[in-house]
């Protein structure tokens, strides 16, 4: 479904990614874990096309999207949930959700029912401006928005960032449900131990802009194996 081969990328001439290889199969939940500043967000942005790769190839759904801009990739079916609370603050909840309709242009199978089912709060507050909701609710909105177009792949950048522990648990649970019920493939980057262990079926470890390890389900169970890359 997603094949990232030898991707290099840089921010204002400083190289950040130095040859990343990641592959994700349809229906999987794959995590990429690493400490702050090792290139996690850069990787996500490169995958989404928000940052141009200097080198390497990104193949999505059998198509080479390396040179496609972000909007084209999104219309191919990549749903993106940015870091922090990147909802459109002055749009209402419903308008925010409408923005997700353009994701995965191929389908007319809009998932409003599923989204309202997972996150009833979004239906309750559909006319409220997104900026006036709490951080946790905004995170739910961001996820809901990415799901509306029924994307094939959901890309999350640190969903736990700035969210209280109990909501982190809820989000982890909801994402697993999305994966099971809608069959959405999920790729996320995280440094939160809980999310890595509870959400990821398989995880890459990233350090200094390169993949340094790959952890299967067993090793993910082990707190020590995981914390090695998060350095707890």
């Amino acid at each position: 479904m997603l094949e990232i081969t030898n991707v290099h990328a840089s921010y204002s001439k400083t190289p950040i990614l130095r040859g990343i290889d990641v592959s994700v199969e349809t229906g999987e939940i794959v995590g990429i874990m690493g400490k702050n500043g090792v290139g996690k967000t850069t990787l996500v942005k490169t995958v989404m096309g928000l940052l141009e790769a200097d080198e390497g190839r990104i193949v999505f759904d059998g198509e080479d999207v390396t040179d496609e801009p972000a909007d084209v990739r999104a219309r191919h079916g990549m749903g993106y949930i940015p870091q922090g609370r990147d909802v459109f603050p002055e749009l209402t909840v419903e308008e925010n959700l409408r923005m997700g309709e353009t994701i995965n242009d191929g389908t007319d199978d809009l998932q409003y029912d599923a989204v309202y089912d997972y996150f009833p709060i979004l239906e309750e507050r559909r006319d409220q401006e997104a900026g006036t909701m709490s951080g946790g609710q905004q995170q739910l909105l961001a996820i809901g928005r990415a799901l509306i177009g029924n994307p094939e792949l959901l890309v999350l950048d640190e969903p736990s960032e700035g969210v209280q522990p109990s909501i982190v648990q809820d989000i982890t649970r909801d994402l697993r449900r999305v994966n099971e019920e809608l069959g959405t493939t999920i790729l996320f980057v995280e440094q939160n131990l809980h999310v890595v262990q509870r959400l990821g079926e398989r995880c890459y470890a990233i350090d200094k802009g390169a993949i340094v390890d790959e952890l299967g389900p067993e090793r993910l169970e082990s707190r020590d194996a995981v914390t090695e890359y998060l350095a707890v």
Partner: protein, 258 residues
Amino acid sequence: MAVSDPTIKTKPAVDETGRKSSRVLQTRDLRKEFGGLTATDDVDFALEEGELRCLIGPNGAGKSTFLNLLTGQLEPTAGSIYYDGHDITAMPSHERVERGISMKFQVPSIYEGLTVAQNLRVPLQQVVDDDFAVRTREILERFDLLAERETTASDLSHGQQQRLEIGMAMALEPKLLLLDEPVAGLSVEETAEIADLLCEIAADDGVALIVIEHDIDFVESIADRVTVLDQGTIFREGSIEEIKADPEVKRIYLGEDH
């Protein structure tokens, strides 16, 4: 400013001889409303000198609002704030800072366009008149930024930026330091460094600290006492063990993992 009434009637902060007690901060019925919303609901909060207090609670519990009331960025709807034995409720921000209340923001808000040394100069010149070089050097050493003194702040790593900001807050030689999520987005090592620094500041410098933080492990590693805010009121207050064990806190905030 309203410093004429140094006594606090209900909970005396001044003993009979007129000397100040060790209580550095006290709020009485502190209340803040936005439109129809009550963000801070009659909060009575007290803090001793050199105490390190963590403030936790769900998003929207009113933690940031509470801090902003203490710094004077927001004006309370009702109630009062006493600091160091004086009523500072109506005092403008910058005067509170002069009296020793210092704040570190949630997002690192250093001066990105200035060098590390220039950044430090801004708070330093508030407390000393010259000798900036010596004081700058001391702070840079303490916060492990000596090699970066001429680096433009925007080029620092995230951890360095956090340290610089705490360094800037400390340059003011505060009595009360308020920190809003000081380790958000930091690596575990960096988090540990900050934890050590904060404990040291409380113990060695005798500075009282209020820390807002989501990372419960971090809270555990530093806090003397923890205050849980929920819906604008103090929901629980106690040692970290008591708080972690409280089922209600688990329900509203911590979740089942902790």
